[in-house]
């Protein structure tokens, strides 16, 4: 039973909307801090810890640092839930 990347994006979109207080935000795998102005290093920590809680995963310090778009976030979620 694997969750598709499309499903993950939908789940992540809800979290992005909450974290960035924007109910109309639409994200794709390419969405990055370049597009979302508020996605600074502090928001990044809030985002990552929220994602961890929502998906029941735990990321390493390096992974937290490496993520710089939605695609990498999804990769990390998938890698951590398989292990």
């Amino acid at each position: 039973m694997s969750v598709s990347r499309a499903d993950l994006i939908l789940g992540l979109q809800d979290i992005f909307r909450d974290v960035f207080l924007d109910d109309s935000l639409v994200i794709s795998e390419e969405t990055s801090p370049l597009e979302i102005e508020e996605w600074d290093s502090l928001a990044h920590i809030t985002l990552v810890t929220t994602v961890e809680k929502a998906f029941g995963v735990r990321m390493s310090a390096d992974e937290i640092g490496d993520i710089n778009n939605v695609q990498m976030l999804i990769d990390v979620i998938i890698n951590n839930s398989n292990s």
């Binding site: 979290i15 909450d18 974290v19 207080l21 290093s41 502090l42 920590i45 809030t46 810890t49 929220t50 809680k53 929502a54 990321m59 390493s60 310090a61 937290i64 640092g65």
Partner: protein, 627 residues
């Protein structure tokens, strides 16, 4: 449904967003004051922090607190949370977070950003690593005393330089030990381990910190969570966050309450209910022998005694204790005089209200007697309806949701951090006597609160019927256990009740009540004996949980209907006076009865009701639906 109480957290978020969009920051703030908890999850806390910024933009009447934060860790999320909790207390936090690694320069240079900001408070958020106390050298077996004294000197030297340059309140964090010291168990044995050095530092800091500074005991807060849960080394290595996000808001909440204490805004008086709050059971019904307190009272008796001991310690350091109980004063005071296992004595209280008035009025009286504001009160009661009454009548009073198990009462009260103080003086310890004198001096008039709105808001729903095999055990229990609301003091066995149930000349009925807080179940039993067109109320008892809610009106209106349907023209009610049932002294006269015997000395009063006289006595608060 009170518009400010929100049942689920997603509704909470929606309600706040809506009110902020509408530009109504006051309502949004009120919703938050009533619903936000430091234990809410990380996502909600992040939402609170963002909302706080929006509310602060529009609220002009906030008190200002300017704080400089010094440290080498990422404090932004913690300061955001602190801003939120201070906002709920009516403060606007104006923070200045000094960038990493320059705090010494900022203190030493009297033209620095720190001094230009002219703060009220400078908060030293030091980590062991800032003070040389996480070094490999003190990981082990070599004497590390110089490291501790150097760290103390370093810290206090900075505070002293600061105080020479500016008049501020310095707040100093003590240090949190690591979750996993390299020496394991031996950390606690050798004075040279990191853990021992940090403990020693904390003790020395407490004894040497200059007068007028305050220590934030973050080590204790960390221990409450458990060091393993406190530290998130991943966040530490990645972004220099000093602790896990899971504990961020709770730590900020504790800090906000400490800041209130520095402004003298901690709570001053704790108002306590008695039955099932400071002892187990109901003194009016169970009697001295039946209430549970101390070692004779089993596990819950022990728990109530521990709670009383904790309350006694609060009183000893200057928190006023008061009683507010629905009881007769003599009955309520009896355990304090003659029950073994009681820790608190009557003289420990500054005010003792045991009566049948509503509790909001009683608390207003206490505030007047002590001459302190209602916002200085915490109200503790096991009954959710009383708690809701106080919340709606006196919103400035803090009302904790008391848990069901008395073992958890202390944790519940402690988690509110209501009684924080920055020092305990001789004056604090003598304050209770001063309060007590105040009470003797003050004369007051009873106020009237909006009972109408409270009773309406309870959304009470009754049920009733004839006692059957399903309900007989509860009916018998009520008849035999109730002392207070029990007009004729009858006691019946199950078989006696069964005989009356099957006798057409009797009506044996039960009444149940639920409200929006829950179902009280069967709370009243009425037995009518019917002969010659007269219905006599043989038995009427009701549980004290539903006193003063007009349930008696509802019940009696049903009694009238039943008597009518059985062809009666008269109802006769007796009141057998006892020491414990004075709560019903005026019941039948309030219901419109005429007294048949006027001799005031008789121990049994008889009242008569003419059924054909129209009396409008039914409760307007209890909807008469299906039975």
């Amino acid at each position: 449904m009170n518009k400010f109480n929100v049942n689920s957290k997603s509704l909470l978020v929606a309600a706040i967003k809506k009110n902020i969009l509408l530009g109504d920051a006051d309502i949004a703030l009120d919703v938050l004051v009533r619903n936000a908890s430091p234990s809410d999850d990380v996502l909600l806390q992040a939402f609170y922090s963002r909302v706080a910024l929006k509310i602060i933009e529009t609220k002009k009447d906030l008190k200002i607190m300017k704080i400089v934060f010094l440290g080498t860790t990422t404090l932004n999320q913690w300061v955001d949370a602190l801003r939120f909790w201070l906002l709920l207390e009516g403060f606007r936090l104006e923070p200045l977070i000094i960038p990493f690694g320059v705090w010494r320069q900022q203190i030493l240079d009297d033209s620095s950003e720190l001094y230009q900001f002219s703060p009220d408070i400078v908060w030293f958020f030091a980590q062991p690593s800032d003070l040389g106390l996480d070094d490999g050298k003190i990981a082990g077996l070599e004497p590390a005393d110089p490291a501790v004294s150097m760290a103390i000197e370093d810290m206090l030297g900075l505070v002293s330089t600061l105080s020479e340059n500016i008049t501020v309140l310095p707040i100093l964090n003590n240090l949190v030990p690591p979750a996993f010291g390299p020496l394991g168990n031996y950390e606690g044995t050798t004075p040279h381990s990191i853990s021992s050095c940090i403990q020693k530092f904390n003790l020395e800091l407490a004894s040497k910190a200059p007068c007028g500074s305050v220590i934030f005991d973050i080590a204790h807060i960390a221990c409450r969570f458990g060091l393993n849960r406190w530290h998130d080394y991943r966040l530490w290595h990645y972004s220099r966050h000093p602790f896990s996000f899971e504990v961020n808001s709770e730590c900020a909440f504790a800090a906000a309450k400490l800041l209130l204490a520095t402004r003298g805004e901690s709570k001053k008086c704790l108002v306590l209910d008695l039955d099932n709050t400071i002892w187990g059971g109901v003194i009016g019904d169970d009697g001295l022998g039946g209430i549970r307190i101390g070692s004779d009272g089993g596990a819950s008796g022990e728990a109530f005694a521990a709670f009383q001991t904790w309350l006694y310690a609060l009183k000893e350091r200057g928190i006023a204790l008061a009683v507010c109980s629905k009881n007769n004063i003599e009955t309520a005071q009896e355990p304090f005089k003659s029950k073994a296992g009681m820790v608190l004595k009557l003289t420990d209280f500054v005010s003792f209200k045991a009566n049948w008035n509503n509790k909001a009025d009683n608390i207003r009286d206490i505030a007047r007697e002590l001459n302190i504001g209602l916002d200085s009160f915490v109200f503790v009661d096991d009954n959710p309806a009383e708690r809701e009454l106080i919340r709606s009548e006196l919103p400035e009073i803090s009302v904790p949701e008391l848990p069901a198990d008395p073992s958890d009462f202390i944790a519940c009260l402690a988690s509110g951090f209501w009684f924080e103080t920055v020092h305990v003086s001789l004056e604090d310890r003598q304050r209770i006597a001063a309060y007590q004198q105040n009470v003797v001096r003050t004369k007051f008039n009873a106020g009237h609160s909006n009972l109408h709105a409270f009773l309406k808001g309870l959304q009470m729903a009754p049920k009733w019927g004839e006692v059957s095999e399903h309900s007989i055990q509860r009916a018998v229990q009520l008849i035999n256990k109730t002392n207070q609301f029990h007009l004729t003091t009858t006691r019946y066995t199950e078989s006696q009740v069964r005989v009356m149930m099957n006798d057409p000349n009797y009506w044996v009925g039960w009444f149940a009540l639920s409200d929006r807080f829950g179902d009280h179940g069967i709370i009243s039993v009425v037995i009518l004996s019917i002969a010659n067109n007269v219905a006599s109320v043989d038995t009427w008892c009701m549980s004290c949980r539903v006193f003063s809610r007009t349930m008696e009106n509802f019940i009696f209106a049903r009694v009238v209907e039943i008597a009518k349907s059985r062809g009666c023209v008269t109802i006769v009610g007796k009141h057998k006076l006892t020491e414990k049932n004075s709560v019903v002294n005026t019941l039948y006269s309030q219901l419109g009865g005429s007294k048949m015997n006027s001799d005031s000395n008789v121990s049994e009063k008889i009242w008569q009701f003419d059924i054909n006289e129209a009396f409008s006595l039914d409760s307007e608060y209890i909807a008469c639906n299906d039975s």
